[in-house]
């Protein structure tokens, strides 16, 4: 009778141990699935964040390109002024004599300091040039150029502008191109 009771107790303990083991495996499996899901979530979130950061960077670069184009459009060194008063500025118009003068400055080694310090602050790494479209002329003027060796982004903005020839008192159709590197 005693032996029978002992055997019964041993069997009961064995059964309880197995049940506990099964429960433990169940908990481990649940935890494993949970961590796998969390891992997938994290990977997905990281990818999304990376794309989002890249988009923000591109957006900021686009804004910089717009800012540079705006700065050039309203540059007093290029803008046309009314023949009656230098204080009256004509919109969307560049004086060709001023354009030529600025293009010469950008080429002259003597003015390198001005280009490097003054204009670099405003335009950074970019190339700004003006083309004459109508009446056609092969003459183009590069008013600023500073290229970036290892550029990741490049943005080109084209803005139509009037080119005023004070000698003949006539206007040509020109295009201002602003290429910004980043």
């Amino acid at each position: 009778m005693k032996i029978c009771k002992k055997l019964h107790a041993q069997h009961y303990i064995k059964m309880k141990n197995k049940k506990a083991q099964i429960k433990m495996f169940e908990t481990i499996a649940v935890l494993l699935i949970f961590f796998v899901l969390v891992g997938f979530g994290l990977i997905f979130y990281m990818k999304f964040m990376r794309t989002s950061i890249e988009d923000t960077g591109e957006h900021q670069f686009d804004l910089k390109a717009i800012q540079t184009a705006q700065l050039v459009s309203f540059l007093p060194e290029l803008q046309c002024t009314s023949p009656t008063s230098a204080n009256i500025v004509i919109d969307d118009c560049f004086d060709v004599l001023k354009v030529k003068a600025l293009a010469n400055i950008s080429k002259e080694p003597a003015y390198e300091r001005i280009n490097n310090e003054y204009y670099f602050d405003s335009f950074g790494y970019s190339k700004i040039y003006i083309e004459n479209i109508y009446p056609y002329s092969p003459e183009n003027w590069i008013v600023y150029e500073r290229t970036l060796p290892n550029k990741k982004f490049q943005s080109s903005t084209k803005v139509p502008v009037s080119l005023y020839y004070p000698v003949t008192n006539s206007y040509s159709f020109g295009v201002l191109t602003v290429e910004v590197y980043g």
Binding site: Y134, K158, Y171, S172, F173
Partner: protein, 168 residues
């Protein structure tokens, strides 16, 4: 006891399903349906549309040193301009077409930018319109996103309208 345990498990499952659904909804709202804002394209198209007409009207042609604005006015009015001095007046329309072709060919068409340009006279009392010049490139009709600019030039007789649509 068994019934209560299964109920608790069902509640847990429901919570998980709800959480996943909410997560998916957020993903769809903020990633898939994210508004596509392109600041640069908007700025460039807007500047292009307004500057193109502004600059075009100011441009001096080789026809008696008249500006495009003068030619448009003449074309919509009494047709008095004689570009080649051959005694035949009414050369303004031809000159307008020639200049517009050259400018648009070397700008918007070269940059592969779809557009639709139209210059037309609006008759008084809404009795119709008379097109002077119309030009388009690429897909720029129907439900296409566009930035439009309209200029009105008062002439001797009627009003002349210039419209330029820049399409994306």
């Amino acid at each position: 006891m068994i019934g209560k345990k299964s109920q608790a498990e069902i509640v847990g499952l429901v919570i998980i399903v709800l959480l996943i659904t909410v997560g998916l909804l957020f993903f769809v709202r903020f990633v898939v349906l994210k508004p596509n804002s392109d600041a640069k394209r908007d700025y460039v198209d807007s500047e292009l549309a307004s500057n193109m007409i502004n600059v075009l009207l100011k441009t001096t042609t080789d026809c008696k040193k008249s500006t495009m604005s003068d030619l448009f006015r003449d074309c919509a009015g009494f047709n008095r301009i004689d570009c080649d001095d051959d005694g035949n007046r009414g050369d303004s329309r031809e000159k307008i077409e020639e200049v517009i072709e050259e400018i648009f060919n070397n700008t918007l068409e070269k940059w592969e930018k779809p557009y639709h340009f139209k210059a037309y006279i609006v008759r008084k009392y809404n009795t119709g319109e008379n097109t002077i010049v119309e030009r388009s490139y690429g897909k720029c009709s129907g439900n296409v996103d566009r930035i439009s600019r309209t200029y009105v030039i008062p002439t001797d007789m009627e009003s002349l309208m210039l419209t330029l649509d820049i399409c994306s």
